[in-house]
């Protein structure tokens, strides 16, 4: 793993769940820099560098998106579709992290080219393990194409 700080975009409207995920990520040895957004509209604005996220320094393109599905304003699946339809964004790994285990949501997420679908575990220990695995895999082992503009 190189020294470059990884950027993780957490899209989660439930403040308690966001707090739990943030604490899990903080506990990890290689802490990514976390950007937390709470709705789909802001997420799309962030990823396309639209105001108030026009500044690339304070709003860097993420290396990984953790995306909840039920979001206010623009739904998670719509965010996913928009990201995967945009040539400059589609290589960013998007991992769906939701409490929904509905088959229609799983099918819909993969139809919209989600890179992975994770159901939030009830146990805190399992959530911590899961997020550790996600970080190690997507920010450690996984290679993304150089074409993806990075913060560097």
């Amino acid at each position: 793993m190189d020294a470059t700080e990884h950027v993780l975009l957490l899209v989660e409207d439930n403040p308690d769940h966001a707090e739990l995920v943030l604490r899990c990520l903080e506990a990890q040895p290689a802490r990514p820099r976390v950007v937390h957004l709470t709705d789909g509209e802001a997420t799309l604005a962030y990823l396309t560098h639209r105001p108030p996220f026009a500044d690339a320094e304070s709003a860097p393109t993420p290396d990984l998106v953790l995306l909840d599905l039920r979001l206010p304003k623009v739904d998670g699946l719509d965010v996913l579709r928009a990201v995967k339809a945009a040539p400059g964004l589609r290589a960013i790994p998007v991992v769906v992290l939701t409490s929904s285990a509905a088959p229609s949501d799983v099918t819909g997420a993969y139809a919209a080219h989600a890179n992975s679908y994770l159901v939030k575990p009830l146990d805190h220990d399992r959530l911590e393990r899961m997020l550790g695995d996600v970080g190690r895999y997507w920010l450690g082992w996984n290679r993304s194409p150089d074409a993806v503009p990075s913060t560097a």
Partner: protein
């Protein structure tokens, strides 16, 4: 007028050899004066026996008065039809004869010559034909069936009255192939014509279905079965067939399809509902279990500030679960009839709702206006109040920073919709479809579970009504519209209710 000819000079040979029974009688005594051999053969009496008898002896006793009347009437007449008569033969059989009588002289005295055709068999066949024809006609009518016969050489089509009735045409209406084709629904005509052509080409029987449009506009589904009739050379000369009205079967099949679709939709909705519920109940549970883990850590580390904050999160999540369960129970009760629907005043229900919301309404300083003359509806009064509490409550909740918050409850005769309109924050048209979905909250910071509008929608739909939202966007207010069945007794609107008669 010429005098009757004398029997002896003109007829003896023809009389004796003719195959039709004949006799000469005395119109005064009714005695037989002469009978021919055919008469003898037909009745079994010998010539000698006949000459000792009168005409009345051959008739059943009840017909004798008619004989006397007839003879008196025809005594002076020339050739005339004498009608049908029953004759008893010597062996006791009854035959039916059709007689013609003719004046002449016999042995110098006026007499009449009678020819009597035996029509027993013909009448029996005619009767059987009539019975058969009536049987077919009745059976056709009871089966909703009409018969047609198409002569290919002349192009003429013979339709029975029942078929004309199926097509909504007067009995005996003259029909050609063109009229038939015009009556058939354009979408079904090609297939029906192809079927008829197939029957003609193959010379076999075929069955097919099509719709017809009657002159009065009614559409009926007909099933046709027909076959080709060939001449001695094997050429098809006629096509004969029937039409049966199968509209009821079609309607039943369509109804069945509709119910199947409805059940499929309901099943899909139920599945979505279960997953939505499990998702939304799991959400606070994740919070509870997650922060419970942190409570122990904070306690061991002596971080009491974080301990208290996390404890508050756990408490709030547990309360959220309680609210969700309460609302779910309420939602589950909507489908069941709590109170039988009755004619109920919307204005009164709206007043009750405002009373129940008195706290929030006063706190936010909202002016609630209930339009006078709202029409009455046929609904469960408790549920109606619930609808209005939810809609007015929502309007009060989402007033934003509106300096003069106002909610209006009214009725639009144009589309028969009741409305609850506010001048609050409004809803972007992009979210109009989502507001009624279960647990859908456009503003996650707002209190509530996101079940309220789902309950309202369910109540309105259980009553057979519709609900929708109208809003040009943020900042311009929101109008929720809904329809409910009108009151059974018209004019049940409140005093001065002008809108009542306009209710659809």
């Amino acid at each position: 007028m010429t005098a009757p000819s004398a029997f002896e000079t003109r007829l003896p040979e023809l009389f004796d050899t003719h195959p039709v029974p004949m006799w000469v009688y005395d119109p005064v005594t009714l005695r037989y004066l002469a009978v021919n051999p055919a008469m003898v053969a037909a009745h079994g009496y010998s010539e000698a026996e006949f000459l000792g008898m009168t005409l009345a002896d051959l008739l059943p006793p009840e017909d004798v008065p008619r004989l006397h009347a007839h003879v008196t009437q025809t005594r002076e007449k020339p050739l005339c039809q004498a009608g049908r008569w029953r004759h008893r033969t010597k062996h006791g059989a009854v035959i039916l004869v059709e007689a013609t009588s003719h004046p002449l002289t016999y042995a110098g005295r006026p007499a009449r010559l009678v020819m009597a055709l035996d029509v027993t068999e013909r009448v029996r066949v005619e009767h059987e034909l009539r019975v058969h024809e009536e049987r077919v006609r009745l059976a056709s009518r009871f089966a909703g069936m009409g018969v047609w016969d198409w002569d290919l050489a002349t192009g003429r089509m013979a339709w029975d009255d029942a078929l004309c009735e199926l097509y909504g045409l007067p009995p005996g209406f003259p029909i050609t192939y063109r009229e038939w084709a015009d009556a058939v629904h354009p979408d079904d005509l090609p297939a029906a014509e192809a079927a008829v052509r197939g029957v003609i080409a193959g010379g076999h029987a075929g069955a097919y279905e099509f719709r017809v449009r009657r002159p009065d506009g009614a559409v009926r589904h007909l099933r046709s079965a027909c076959g080709a009739v060939t001449d001695a050379a094997g050429h098809v000369v006629r096509v004969v067939g029937i039409n049966i009205d199968v509209t009821d079967q079609h309607r039943a099949a369509e109804e069945r399809e509709r119910l199947i679709h409805k059940l499929e939709d309901q099943n899909a909705e139920l599945e979505r509902f279960v997953y939505t519920v499990s998702h939304d109940l799991k959400s606070p549970l994740i919070t509870v279990k997650g922060f419970l883990g942190h409570l122990g850590k904070s306690a061991r580390a002596g971080n009491w500030e974080r301990f208290d904050a996390d404890l508050a999160r756990v408490g709030k999540a547990a309360e959220k679960m309680r609210l969700l369960l309460d609302d779910l129970l309420q939602l589950s009760r909507v489908g069941r009839v709590a109170n039988p629907p009755r004619d109920v005043s919307v204005a009164e229900a709206a007043a009750d709702a405002v009373q129940l919301l008195a706290g929030p309404v006063a706190a936010r300083g909202v002016e609630v206006v209930i339009e006078p003359g709202l029409p009455a509806v046929h609904a469960d009064p408790v549920r109606l109040t619930e609808v209005l509490v939810n809609l007015i409550g929502n309007a009060v909740k989402f007033m934003g920073d509106q300096p003069r918050p106002r909610v209006e409850v009214g009725f639009r005769p144009a589309d028969g919709a009741f409305f609850v309109a506010d001048n609050g924050i409004g809803i972007d048209p992009a979210y109009h479809a989502r507001v009624f979905a279960l647990f859908e909250r456009l503003d996650p910071a707002a209190e509530g579970t996101g079940i309220g509008l789902a309950i309202v929608k369910r109540i309105v739909e259980v009553h057979g009504g519709r609900i929708w939202v109208e809003s040009a966007g943020r900042g311009v207010g929101t109008t929720f519209c809904f329809t409910l069945p009108p009151a059974a007794r018209r004019g049940e609107s409140l005093a001065g209710g002008g809108g009542g008669s306009d209710f659809p």
